[in-house]
Structure formats: C-alpha cells, structure tokens
Symmetry: C2
Subunit: 237 residues, 2 copies
DNA sequence: GTATCTTCTCGTCAAGATGACGATTAATGG
DNA sequence: CCATTAATCGTCATCTTGACGAGAAGATAC
C-alpha cells in the first residue's frame, strides 16, 4: 500500500547468479569463482553479476554469464531459472535482488579460466553441502536449492543426459544418476528402464569398450524431455 | 563484463505479483484486479505491486499482497515462488523485474473487495487460457505458468488439499483434481489411492451428507507433503 | 590358447501399483 | 417402500518394480 504522499518506486540492484553443475571424477561439482573484491573478498561464490545495463534481459544475462564461465558455446547447455533471492540484507553494501539460474553441463575439457577478473574452478558440491567450504552472501543456501533441484529433476525428466557427452553408454548414464543421487542403482534394472523409455535414448549402432568389459552400445539423447513413468530415487522418507 | 570506465550498477524497479488460484463453482479461478491507472488502465492484471520500500523482503511482500487481496489471515495459505519475469520492455514505463508467486487457497467466503484502490474478482482461468480475456503486461504468460505449476504440483505433493476447506470428503478432493486437471477420475480408484497414501488424509470420524447420497467420511490434511507414489494425470503425450 | 576378470545385456519371478468395473451400503426424495 | 444418489469395498488382468541368475563379449594374465 503505497499511500504515502511522496512515496517513490524503490529501485534496487538486480544481479544474476548461475549454479553450474557437472559430474566429474566420480562426484558432482559446481563452478565457483574467487571473489577479488569486498565484500567477501577471497571467499568463493557463484559466478554472476549485475545486469550489464538497465536494458539487459535476465535470461540473456544468465546465458552470457554461463558462456563466460564455461568459455564455450553455452547454447548447447541446459539452463533454467532456479529461484530469486531477495532478503533485505543479503548483500551488506546495498539491496540486491538476485535471480539465480541452474545449468547442467557435461564434463568440460578443462577447469576454465575465469572470463572475469577472478579465477573459476570446479569444486565438489559435497564440500559445500557439508559446510567445509563457506560461501559468500547466501550462496550456500542457493547451492543447496540447486542440488536439490537437479536431484529431483532427473527423476521425471531426461535431463541426466545433460551431464553426458554427445554419445554415452547406459552405464555412463547410470553413473550420473548414482553420483547425483548418491545411491547405487542396479545395472540390470536401470538398463531395462532407460532402454524401455520411449524416445529417451537413440542407439547409434556403434559400441565402445572404454569402460572395460563387454562392449557397450553407444547412445545419444532422444527427443523425449519427460520420463514416463518417472524414475524415482530411494524414497525420500 | 562491466569494463566501461564509468559503469554504474544499474538499478531497476522490483515488483511482486501473486497468482492466487482457487476452485469454485466447478472451475479453477484466479484472482485478478482491475487496473485503475496507466499503463493498461481498465485491463485486468495479477494483484501485485512494487516493493513497499527498499528494505522489504520479497517473500514478505508477497505474503502481504496475498493478505490484502484475500482479506484474510494469509498465513494459512500455501504460497510459493513461481518465477521471475524480467524481459526489458515488459513494462512500457520503465524497467521492471517482477518476482511472481503462486498461492493456492480454498474457496473463500466471498469475492473479496480489493484492499487496493481497484477492485478484485475471481475469474475462471479458462477465460485467460483460451485468450478471451487479455491481461496487462506479460501476465497472460504468467497465468499459464501458474496453472501448469499447480497442475503438476498436485501430482506429486499433497497440495490439492490447499484448495479444500479444513474438513473435506474424498469426493471433494477428487473434484479438485478433476477441475484442476480437466479430467475425470474413477471415484473408486481415487478413493483407494488417497486413503491408502500414508499421512495424506486424517479421518475425523465424522460424516457428512452435504453432497447427497451415502454419508461420506470427513477428513483433514495429514502431515505428508509428498505423495508416494505420485498420482499422475493422463499422460501428457 | 586358455583361464580369468570385467562389464554389458537379457531373463525370471514375486510384490506392488494401476485401471476398469461389479457390487454393496447408507443416505434422500418422492 | 422404492428409486436415486453417492460412498465405499472388492476383484481381476495388466504393468512396473526390485532382487537377482546367467550368458555374452571384450581385455588381460599366464
């Protein structure tokens, strides 16, 4: 209720942060930057920044941030809005409302050099989740939300393939699920499930032995985006 | 990349809008206000407004908006963040980033008189979805998102009860599903499913005949928030 | 070359969930 | 008292799941 006489529309700073998740070295990782300046200088934080201009679209801003940090053509990567965080004192300098995004990317060639002044590196999310690595601002809570979103999203969508390369085996996809969920999955039931799901996987006809053992069929993503029926993790009781 | 010399952090207006959904008269309804002022004066829009001050928390702002519009103690109602909309020209006056929330409320006593200058009223969402009722700004798309969120959310959570009164029958809950999904559901299978789901419904021991026929057991919400297993609508193929 | 190890893939079986639908129960209105 | 209505219970075939056996097809060791 803006009934005061000389009330003016409050203007605040809007930033965009991106939680970029990947699977590498057998663990879920997140891309974090080192903060070069105050506040929280020297601490790690999510990559992000203020809108570059008052004209910039927030989705464009997020995509730009993702491209800068991965150093790659970010159009191929999955990017979705996660949530907006706007508690009054989350930034000590001024009121900042931050729109956060979640990106799921495959194991990229190398830990990329930060496009920004400060360096970026992949960090196992366990470091953050278990509180061993404090983050700037309210980024700790954001990472929690991001990981939980990723965990639940691969239950009912085909997004787990976003963590895989172009071509992958059923076992590699299963490893993604195991790592993201932190659960072991029966290889035979998993194989039956994913190969049975319509339009989830497209066989290439080629095989690979890169994981040892009997040669495995190589697949690429199908056109399906939703999994029917869903693939539920061990009950969240 | 803010490498310009005299670059300043852009500040923009932040607003909070709320899509308040309810089930009444056999249809899903949304609370809309009439805009009294330009832009879009005379058109209908989602209730909402700018942050009341540069200090106000966005969640608090949404809760306040909900309370004003429903005229009731809004603490009992389900309120969750939906998404943030920040396209550059979504408001012709200036750059406005709006954080939208979704509220699910029971059939309230009466179409409430708007707390604000303009009047509020319940409108069948079909009017909006089918394009018969144009809305201000990008609110049409927001309503689409809100309805889809509600539809999918009652699949795997117990939130359908948020549309019911304190005490309700299985048939009343089934009607909620039927109306929100726009599908008819077998009463016998539905009954088996919801009464079998652990901690979903708590029997009160009392019965009612308000829907005619054989007296139905009255239930209230249980403590469960997630439905296991989920209750899926007819395949979204 | 053969044994062994590894991993992939196919199969089986019991338990649980689902969808279709018959039948009974307990109210109400003539 | 009978027809109507809606709530509840039960049955059955089908599908999905989880647990696990077993064979297939490669690499490696000897």
């Amino acid at each position: 209720m803006n009934d005061e006489r000389n009330w003016k529309i409050p203007e605040v700073a809007v930033s965009v942060d991106v939680a970029i998740l990947t699977v590498r070295s057998g663990a879920l990782h997140i891309l974090l930057v080192w903060r070069a300046i105050e506040p929280f200088a020297g601490m790690r934080a999510l990559p992000g920044g203020f809108l570059s201009s008052v004209e910039e679209d927030i989705d464009v801003s997020a995509r730009r941030e993702l491209a800068e940090e991965t150093g790659l053509d970010a159009d191929r990567f999955h990017l979705e809005q996660l949530r907006t965080y706007g508690a009054p004192r989350r930034d000590p300098r001024m009121r900042v409302v931050t729109v956060c995004y979640l990106a799921l990317v495959p194991n990229l060639p190398d830990p990329v050099a930060g496009g920004d002044a400060s360096a970026a590196s992949w960090v196992p999310v366990a470091e953050v989740l278990e509180g061993r690595l404090p983050l700037a601002f309210d980024h700790h809570g954001i990472v929690l939300d991001a990981v939980e979103r990723a965990r639940s999203k691969i239950e009912y969508t085909t997004l787990a393939t976003a963590f895989c390369d172009e071509e992958f085996t059923v076992a590699e996809l299963r490893e993604v699920y195991e790592i993201v969920w932190g659960e072991i999955i029966d290889p035979r039931n998993f194989h039956r499930k994913v190969t049975g799901a319509k339009d989830f996987l497209v066989p290439t006809g080629r095989k690979t032995t890169r994981n040892g053992g009997r040669p495995a069929e190589l697949y690429r993503r199908g056109t399906a985006t939703l999994l029917h029926p869903a693939f539920l993790r061990g009950h969240q009781a």
